[in-house]
């Protein structure tokens, strides 16, 4: 082996060692943080999930406690909370409103930041009429952000033939003579209300 071959071998060996060290060098560990906005998002979701459980028959206090206890205090530091308002109080009765309002106190160092969280779905029938071959039920539906005017965000049971938006109302078209006495409305989150026609 001459000098050139030897230096080539040593050079390649050094290169391989360098690449190996560079590839296996320790990288920065990924760190994480939670902020007020993500804590509030967690609490909002817990409130919603508790209300859905309540609509399925569970006591609201139990449902809320289970959801809060499931959250890790390192990610959702909570001092205390209280239920301000809840509908329906009796899930066996059809109510035109599903609502849960909770006041949370988020622990931030030595102080507690209040956070009022409301999740709701409510609505009412504005009118019923007949148009040609159809019975029409006009309704207004609200969630905590305001009036819902996109039929895609709601599902109806029984399903109407068509849904139109007119004058800030949703108009549900059913076949003439087949207008239901109660309409079940569910939003994309799973909240459910019943409207009597």
């Amino acid at each position: 082996m001459n000098y050139t071959a030897a230096s080539l071998v040593i050079g390649i060996t050094l290169l391989a060692i360098t690449v190996s060290i560079a590839v296996n060098a320790p990288h920065y560990m990924c760190i994480a943080q939670v902020s007020l906005s993500t804590i509030e998002a967690s609490l909002r979701h817990a409130t919603l999930n508790a209300l859905i459980a309540h609509l399925c028959g569970k006591s609201v206090k139990t449902a809320l406690r289970e959801n809060i206890e499931a959250l890790d205090p390192r990610y959702v530091p909570l001092s205390r909370y209280r239920v301000v308002e809840c509908h329906p109080v009796d899930v066996s009765t059809p109510w035109p409103k599903a609502l849960l309002k909770v006041e949370y106190w988020i622990a931030l160092g030595d102080r507690a930041q209040p956070y009022n969280c409301t999740v709701k779905l409510e609505g009412y029938v504005t009118s019923t009429s007949s148009e040609g071959l159809y019975d029409v039920v006009s309704i207004k539906v609200y969630d905590e952000r305001g009036l819902i005017l996109s039929p895609e965000l709601l599902s109806f049971n029984p399903k109407p033939l068509t849904v139109k938006v007119e004058d800030g109302k949703l108009k549900l078209y059913y076949p003439r003579g087949l207008r239901p006495s109660t309409i079940e409305i569910t939003d994309t989150r799973g909240l459910r209300i019943y409207l009597s026609t």
Binding site: T38, N49, L71, D72, T188
Partner: protein, 135 residues
């Protein structure tokens, strides 16, 4: 004859000397390059944590459904709808035992935003969603 042999051995010696010089230069270059690479930390851009992005996503019912159904395509679409074509890494962990359930996106580093979800459809099933967004 003897003069010719002497001249030949001189030429061989010169070639060996040149060889040794070139080898030394190559070795020195490798050593300097290696030291330069190893002396500096790996490239790292401390992206700011995407708290607002994750907070917005966590309020979207279809995102929550995608999280609980571990639908990677839907999750990717939701994240890209908010951040565009920036690289991201989204990971979902079981909050009970920190088992990694799903990881999508690029292998980027940065400060992750964390949101914990307590459950879905009224059931209590806590999971942790972690998101890192690159620039």
């Amino acid at each position: 004859m003897r003069r010719s042999l002497t001249s030949n051995s001189h030429k061989i010696a010169q070639a060996h000397l040149l060889d040794a010089i070139i080898a030394s230069i190559i070795l020195m270059l490798f050593t300097i390059t290696s030291m330069a690479i190893l002396s500096r930390p790996p490239s790292f851009t401390p992206h700011s944590p995407p708290d607002d992005v994750l907070a917005v996503l966590a309020q979207d019912p279809s995102f929550i459904k995608a999280v609980y159904s571990l639908d990677s395509e839907s999750l990717s679409s939701h994240v890209k709808a908010v951040i565009g074509n920036r690289p991201f890494k989204l990971a979902i962990y079981n909050a009970s035992n920190y088992e990694l359930l799903l990881r999508i996106g690029s292998d980027i580093e940065g400060v992750a935003s964390i949101v914990e979800l307590s459950g879905c459809e009224g059931k209590v099933e806590p999971i942790i969603v972690s998101l890192v967004v690159g620039s």
